[in-house]
């Protein structure tokens, strides 16, 4: 019996066990009938670049989708490199989905511009809407949130992760009707102004399935205990401001409330933290797997006390106040640690303000056998340290190192850090994401091109010497999907020589490099399935063709040039001479 003669519903049932996009895509390529069956039963789609495909096309191919995830602006938009008005508008998608996916349940957006109008349309048109995640989004206000609260009867999740929300009033929370009892997850940490505490409390009380609650800074510490007692089932909590007058009654109330939360696995928040109140959470430390202290200005001794009580910790985000000594304690206690992110407390200072060096990272790499994901801001590094880390942790998957001063050499030998990063890519064969920093020549890119075969995302700044560097990466990294480059001397040759590679990637960002407008035009003309967009706010780039292009964003697409480009973005394609306004 051949597989192709299996009845459709059997195949569909089998396919339903295949969740990963990659595998689903492969299934759809087997034969025409599998393509047809698969597309009717695909329930979730992920569009990594909202301009790669049109909503209409997506809906046409996958008519029964229940969950959509979209990403808009390029990653470097996080660091203010993409001007406002660039794009990433979700409205066209929502308008299309209002008609095409009336039963849509989940929408997850990242780096997109979301308007109140969009939110209102969701609330009005999608009757079964359950999950809204807006990660690093902007363009909407609490009015839009009020519409979601009021009209989405089955809302389970509302997550505004680090979004920029216009916050005229906190009253939107009261728009959740009394009949709404379905909330499982609420993250309002990014909201600036106060929400009505009584509305919040009533909401928490009537939602027995609430597992995640991330409060905003405006919720005072004195009231936290009260909320916790209403929701002892919480698994993830983000505190509000973690400061109050030092009073024993407040402390004991808080400590008592925390001790009632037997399920807590994740803590975050801790703005304005008063160290004396930290011990209030000690009772939950033994169960914690995730701790986000990245806004907590606690010094190393307090951090050590805290972290030493969390043997099950898998993910720690912290400021560099933790210092090497704190990381040593972490390495000694948290043997289950998978992810570490250390953020800088004073990145613009001249001198280091804390004693955090490469040693801390080395210690963690030695002590934590499961460490696979690192984001580390520091001020000095050595090749030796990097080689040690690489050898300690060949299972590393994400390695992002940011040495704060651009082009800092190995502090011991004053050499470039090529060898160190080379060791990382050589030993860590499953490395998927890498961010480079420090003094780097073309050699590091040679290593990367040679060894980093599973690398999907590479971020580069102030590195390299010539086009050869870029060429190594584009020609060698077989799995590369996203490449973002700022301030490197990479120009036309490597780009043009590897034009075909760009169609195998999601996107390429290059800013303050040496790419000429002519090369962009050529690329745009040669590669019809790429959008070659030049961003230049001071005027049309062809008016000063002798200057390198300021910002360049190239991405593959099946829909041609986008129609929502602002005046400072030029699509340099076949008809690049006449830009349509």
């Amino acid at each position: 019996m051949s597989y192709s003669s299996l009845p459709e519903d059997v195949l569909e049932h089998v396919f339903s066990f295949v969740q990963s996009d990659k595998d689903r895509n492969v299934i759809s390529l087997v034969c025409k009938s599998w393509y047809e069956i698969e597309r009717w039963c695909r329930r979730r789609i992920f569009v990594g670049n909202c301009y790669a495909v049109s909503p209409r096309m997506a809906i046409r191919r996958f008519p029964e989708v229940r969950s959509v995830e979209l990403k808009g602006k390029p990653h470097f938009a996080d660091f203010n490199l993409v001007p406002e008005g660039w794009g990433g508008y979700v409205y066209p998608w929502i308008r299309a989905m209002a008609g095409g996916y009336p039963w849509l349940e989940e929408l997850k957006l990242k780096r997109m511009v979301v308007t109140d109008e969009s939110l209102e349309l969701i609330a009005k048109s999608l009757k079964n809407f359950k999950v809204l995640v807006l990660s690093s989004c902007e363009g909407f206000s609490t009015h839009g949130l009020a519409a979601i609260a009021a009209d989405c009867k089955n809302l389970k999740e509302l997550d505004l992760w680090e979004s920029d929300v216009e916050d005229p009033s906190g009253n939107w929370l009261s728009k959740f009707p009394d009949t709404c009892t379905s909330l499982v997850s609420l993250n309002i940490a990014c909201l600036g102004s106060e929400v009505s505490f009584s509305a919040l409390e009533r909401l928490v009380v009537r939602c027995p399935n609430l597992r995640t609650l991330r409060l905003n800074r405006a919720v005072p510490l004195e009231k936290l205990a009260h909320l916790l007692r209403q929701a002892p089932q919480l698994v993830e909590l983000g505190t509000g401001t973690y400061s109050a007058d030092l009073r024993p009654d407040i402390f004991s109330n808080l400590a008592g409330a925390f001790s009632g939360c037997k399920e807590l696995k994740s803590l975050s928040g801790f703005w304005d933290v008063v160290p004396a109140y930290l011990p209030a959470v000690y009772s939950v430390c033994s169960g914690l797997t995730t701790l986000n202290l990245s806004y907590a200005t606690i010094q190393s001794p307090d951090l050590i006390k805290l972290v030493s009580q969390c043997p099950k910790l898998q993910c720690l985000w912290v400021l560099d106040y933790i210092e090497d000594s704190g990381l040593e304690a972490l390495a000694a206690t948290c043997k289950d640690l998978r992810e570490l992110r250390v953020f800088p407390s004073e990145p613009f200072g001249d001198e280091p303000n804390v004693s955090l060096t490469e040693q801390g990272l080395v210690l963690v790499s030695e002590g934590c056998p499961k460490l696979e994901s690192v984001l580390y801001f520091c001020r000095r590094m050595s090749n030796d340290a990097l080689v040690t880390i690489a050898k300690n942790r060949p299972s590393m998957i994400r390695f992002r190192l940011c040495i704060i001063d651009p082009q800092t050499p190995d502090y011991l030998t004053l050499e470039p850090l090529d060898v160190g990063f080379g060791a990382i890519v050589q030993h860590c064969k499953d490395l998927r994401r890498l961010s480079l920093s420090g003094l780097l020549t073309d050699r590091v890119f040679e290593y990367i091109g040679t060894y980093a075969k599973k690398l999907e995302m590479l971020s580069v700044a102030f590195a390299g010497e010539s086009d050869l560097g870029l060429h190594h990466v584009l020609s060698g990294c077989d799995s590369l999907r996203k490449l973002e480059i700022m301030d490197c001397p990479f120009g036309d040759k490597a780009l043009l020589a590897n034009a075909a590679k760009l169609e195998t990637m999601r996107s390429l960002w290059m800013s303050s490099c040496s790419v000429s407008f002519e090369a962009c035009k050529l690329l745009g003309q040669k590669m019809p399935r790429l959008n070659v967009e030049v961003i230049d706010e001071s005027g049309p780039p062809d008016s000063r063709p002798e200057l390198p292009v300021k910002k360049l964003y190239i991405y593959r697409t099946v829909t041609g040039r986008r129609i929502d480009m602002p005046g400072f973005v030029w699509n340099v394609g076949e008809d690049s001479a006449l830009r349509l306004s």
Binding site: F76, D78, F79, N80, L81, P83, E84, G85, S136, E162, D164, C190, S243, W271, D272, V273, V274, P275, S294, Y295, T297, I298, Q299, F343, P344, S345, E346, P347, F348, G349, N353, F377, C402, I404, D405, P406, Q407, S459, A461, F462, E465, M486, D487, P489, G491, S511, S512, S514, D536, E537, S538, G539, P540, S543, P548, P566, G567, F568, R579, S581
Partner: protein
């Protein structure tokens, strides 16, 4: 400060356009008069096309500031000599002219930002075609820290730090700047400016970009003086004076310039370039608030 009766013009803060003759140059010589900064005026209507037309070099924006504050606006460090200011606005090398020894740096929005401090700048090796050296505080996009983080950190007070001077040193405060009628907002980092004059000059460049860009978006729309009808020209000249306002921590809209610069950067949450006709109501409230503070 020169006061001839109620000569409001003498207290106005205007940026001089490159090469433009500012008729009020006379009051510059009195070093303490408000430095004159003229900006282009726009007839705001939200349409791109409008900006195409508004490239008449004689048109001026005027940022009006209260008389009382005008004296404080002239900060010796940021302003430099008034001649210096007038000659160099609109050009790229604001930084080097301010005598601070820093290179020209462009912020992500195309405006030029003076290197703020006299700290030695790291010169970049092997950067063949780069004219810009990365001064660590000033390069847009570096270090790669999200604005959400920067803004959150800079608004936290460090209660653990005994040193009252030390604030959380993210040294960065991005605020949105909108302009009535402009199609896009911008974000500026207030910490990269040292004075109101710096800020005004940067804003002028930032929003005049809309003019240039839109003006060339379709070549047949490039305006020439001859092309503008007289009535159009009169519209532009008469039309709009704009004032720079800001929303403070309390949510009130205030005129920019009423308070000392540091106090302003501490309390400013967003900026708006609004038509002065709309801003009339702000002035009395601003003055009162100012009095209550002092």
């Amino acid at each position: 400060m020169e006061k001839s009766g109620l000569n409001l013009k003498a207290t106005e803060l205007r940026l001089g356009l490159p090469g433009s003759e500012s008729p009020e140059r006379g009051s510059d010589k009195n070093g303490n008069a408000a430095v004159i900064l003229s900006l282009k005026s726009f007839v705001g209507s939200g349409a791109k096309r409008v900006f195409c037309d508004a490239t008449d070099a004689d048109a001026k924006w005027v940022f009006s500031v209260s008389e009382a504050a005008a004296g404080r606006l002239f900060s010796p460090r940021g302003g430099g000599s008034s001649n210096n200011n007038n000659n160099n606005h609109g050009k790229v090398h604001v930084g080097s002219d301010s005598g601070l020894g820093g290179p020209v740096l462009e912020d992500g929005n195309g405006a030029c930002v003076a290197a703020q401090s006299p700290k030695p700048v790291m010169m970049v090796q092997d950067k063949k075609s780069h004219e810009i050296a990365p001064s660590k505080a000033q390069v847009v996009g570096w270090p790669p820290i999200r604005s959400y983080r920067k803004n959150t950190m800079s608004s936290q007070s460090s209660k653990n730090d005994d040193d009252s001077e030390a604030k959380l040193g993210l040294g960065c405060l991005y605020v949105k700047v909108s302009m009535d009628g402009a199609p896009y907002l911008r974000k500026v980092d207030l910490k990269t400016y040292s004075s109101y004059i710096d800020l005004s000059s940067a804003l002028e460049k930032m929003f005049s970009c809309f003019t240039i860009v839109s003006g060339q978006c379709s070549s047949h729309n490039v305006p020439s003086r001859d092309g503008l009808s007289e009535s159009r020209l009169m519209d532009l000249l008469h039309g709009s004076e704009y004032v720079l306002t800001y929303e403070d921590k309390d949510g009130d809209w205030m005129l920019v310039g009423d308070v000392p610069w540091e106090m302003f950067t501490d309390s400013c949450r967003r900026l708006r370039i609004m038509k002065s006709s709309d801003a009339i109501g702000l002035a009395p409230r601003a003055m009162e608030k100012c009095k209550n503070r002092n």
